[in-house]
């Protein structure tokens, strides 16, 4: 018994401490190293932060280089898939573009109005500048949903910077290095976004489900009955972590139970991201801005000028559509005239045909009279022997012939 315990201890000691010829450190040293690093990385020291940033920079770049062949295969697959549905997508996009163009102008006006109102409420102007960032590492881990972008503190990226795919929110920056940053995607379990659900105007929190979708959490009891499919979800701006009014996704019901459960389908497909926009926000006090605007009142950046420009654009579009309508009206008028002329011609034709038919009827009657006249004319004609007859050509004579020689008493 004692011997077997000794063997076990020897085996364990050997496993922990023995270094073979090739090994530089014993495994116990490495375990201590690991624990030391774990503790150090949880401390918020400047030196550790700097060292971490350096390691991150090196590893992210290396990961990007190593991922090149795999990304090439992935991109080729996606490209081939895109080409097969190219025409269908093109047609769909064309229609969508036409629709969006018309709503774009009015949206911009609303945006400017909103900005002005916000300036009045907050006493400061927040000007945002979206910078394009390339995704250098996008390993779709089953545990954590994050991406690495090629912009860092050098480009004014800060922790909490909102990241967009076009105008849709995709996440926020959680780790900043000098030239790279890590973005926590909305689909991650650790992501929490305060949102408004429209049109019901319900406030809630959207968290990621660890896959591709989100789930509604912390909704006031009773309000969940009001939720319907395709309700739009956008950021409410509560907590000032995310900018307000940024679209996120739409509600989709799932489950077959009597009470519908809802999940959030994000507008952006996080697995297909190649480039994203990071929004750098700078806040300026409103007094300074007014002074600056006084000095540079003629500058094009003035919001009033910009609004005016938008209105001019809108006017131009309206004029253009008016012209289009006028032209269309003229075309329609010409067409109506042509049709009227055709109708007149047809009427004339009908009346001439009616005349022909009348003439034919008259001729038929005459023929009938002549035939009967030959047979019964002698009975109706007034003569020496026929005192009751009528004078030839009179109406009575005609009636008599048509009634086959019968003379009414």
């Amino acid at each position: 018994m004692a011997s077997s315990r000794d063997d076990l201890l020897i085996a364990i000691r050997s496993a922990f401490l023995k270094k073979s010829t090739q090994q530089k450190f014993s495994l116990l040293t490495l375990v201590f190293f690991s624990l030391f690093i774990i503790i150090l990385s949880s401390l918020d020291l400047k030196v550790i932060k700097f060292s971490k940033a350096v390691i991150n920079e090196i590893v992210y770049r290396s990961s990007f280089i190593v991922s090149v062949p795999e990304n090439l295969i992935k991109n080729t697959f996606t490209l081939t898939k895109d080409y097969t549905t190219f025409f269908k997508k093109y047609k769909k996009n064309e229609t969508e573009l036409e629709r969006l163009k018309s709503s774009y102008v009015s949206n911009e006006i609303t945006e400017y109005e909103n900005r002005e109102l916000k300036e009045l409420i907050n006493d400061y102007v927040s000007s945002s500048d979206k910078i394009l960032a390339k995704i250098i590492v996008d390993h779709d881990s089953p545990f954590l949903k994050s991406i690495i972008i090629n912009k860092g503190s050098k480009d004014n990226i800060k922790i909490g910077t909102n990241v967009y795919d076009q105008s849709y929110l995709v996440g926020r920056v959680i780790e900043v290095n000098y030239k790279t940053s890590r973005v926590l995607l909305l689909s991650d379990l650790n992501s929490n976004v305060p949102v408004t659900i429209a049109p019901q105007n319900i406030q809630a929190i959207v968290t990621g489900n660890g896959e591709d979708k989100g789930q509604i959490k912390y909704i006031k009891s009773g309000f969940s009955d009001q939720l319907v499919d395709d309700s739009i979800i956008y950021t409410s701006g509560t907590g000032a972590i995310f900018k307000s009014g940024v679209p996120i996704g739409k509600l989709q019901s799932f489950g077959e139970s009597a009470v519908n459960e809802y999940e959030v389908e994000f507008y952006s497909d996080f697995s297909q991201l190649k480039y994203v926009f990071a929004e750098i926000i700078t806040q300026t006090e409103i007094s300074q801005v007014s002074a600056e605007t006084d000095e540079n009142s003629n500058e094009e950046n003035n919001p009033l000028d910009a609004k005016l420009k938008i209105l001019e654009d809108e006017l131009e579009i309206i004029e253009e559509s008016n012209k289009k309508f006028q032209k269309e009206n003229e075309n329609l008028k010409t067409e109506i005239n042509n049709l009227n002329y055709k109708v007149l011609n047809l009427n004339n034709e009908i009346s001439s045909q009616k005349q022909t038919i009348n003439q034919f009827n008259l001729d038929t009657q005459e023929l009938k009279f002549l035939r009967l006249n030959l047979e019964h004319g002698h009975k109706c004609r007034k003569s020496f022997l026929n005192n009751k007859g009528f004078i030839v050509g009179s109406a009575e004579y005609k009636d008599c012939v048509l009634s086959k020689g019968k003379i009414d008493g």
């Binding site: 490495l30 971490k52 991150n56 390993h139 089953p142 954590l144």
Partner: protein, 168 residues
């Protein structure tokens, strides 16, 4: 002479191939996650480290395995040192198994591997949720453990071919 030198460099690469694959896999997360299969994920580095440290492969340095763990943490976004600890624990467990085994059996190794990866994943999950307040889905860990265990046999047969080639 030149051909001999070329052969020598090729051999060197061939010797270090497992380590090279380990680094590529941690930097690239070689686990087919991009296939978007809902209930599928596996941990290739676990299989690789377990097999080559169990075989006490000369060109599979513990320090390099430790550094690979740091790389993995950086890429995945885990707190630095977690994967290094996991990889080092695998090395310890294989060293222990080697010490206590007189007659090696692939089946025993396989089930020992299941025990080890389950323990390590449990430690990972506990540390991340308790000390770092991470929200994690336990089911994902279970699925990962299951597929890593299942794929072990397939990869082991490939690695055996590699070792056989080396001996020849």
């Amino acid at each position: 002479m030149a051909s001999l030198r070329a052969k020598g460099s090729f051999l060197k690469i061939y010797y270090w191939l497992p380590m090279l694959i380990l680094y590529i896999s941690v930097l690239n997360e070689f686990d087919f996650n991009y296939l978007k299969l809902k209930y599928f994920s596996f941990n290739f580095p676990f299989i690789l480290i377990f097999f080559f440290t169990l075989k006490d492969f000369k060109y599979f340095d513990y320090t390099l395995v430790f550094i690979a763990g740091l790389f993995n943490d950086t890429v995945v976004g885990l707190p630095l040192g977690i994967s290094s600890l996991s990889y080092t624990l695998i090395c310890i467990s294989t060293a222990y198994l080697r010490n206590i085994t007189i007659r090696p059996s692939p089946l025993k190794d396989w089930f020992y591997f299941l025990f080890i990866i389950s323990s390590i994943n449990s430690i990972n999950y506990s540390v991340l949720t308790l000390f770092f307040s991470f929200d994690l889905i336990l089911m994902n860990y279970l699925i990962n453990t299951f597929f890593t265990f299942s794929f072990y046999i397939i990869f082991v047969s490939i690695f055996r071919y590699y070792l056989k080639g080396l001996n020849d």
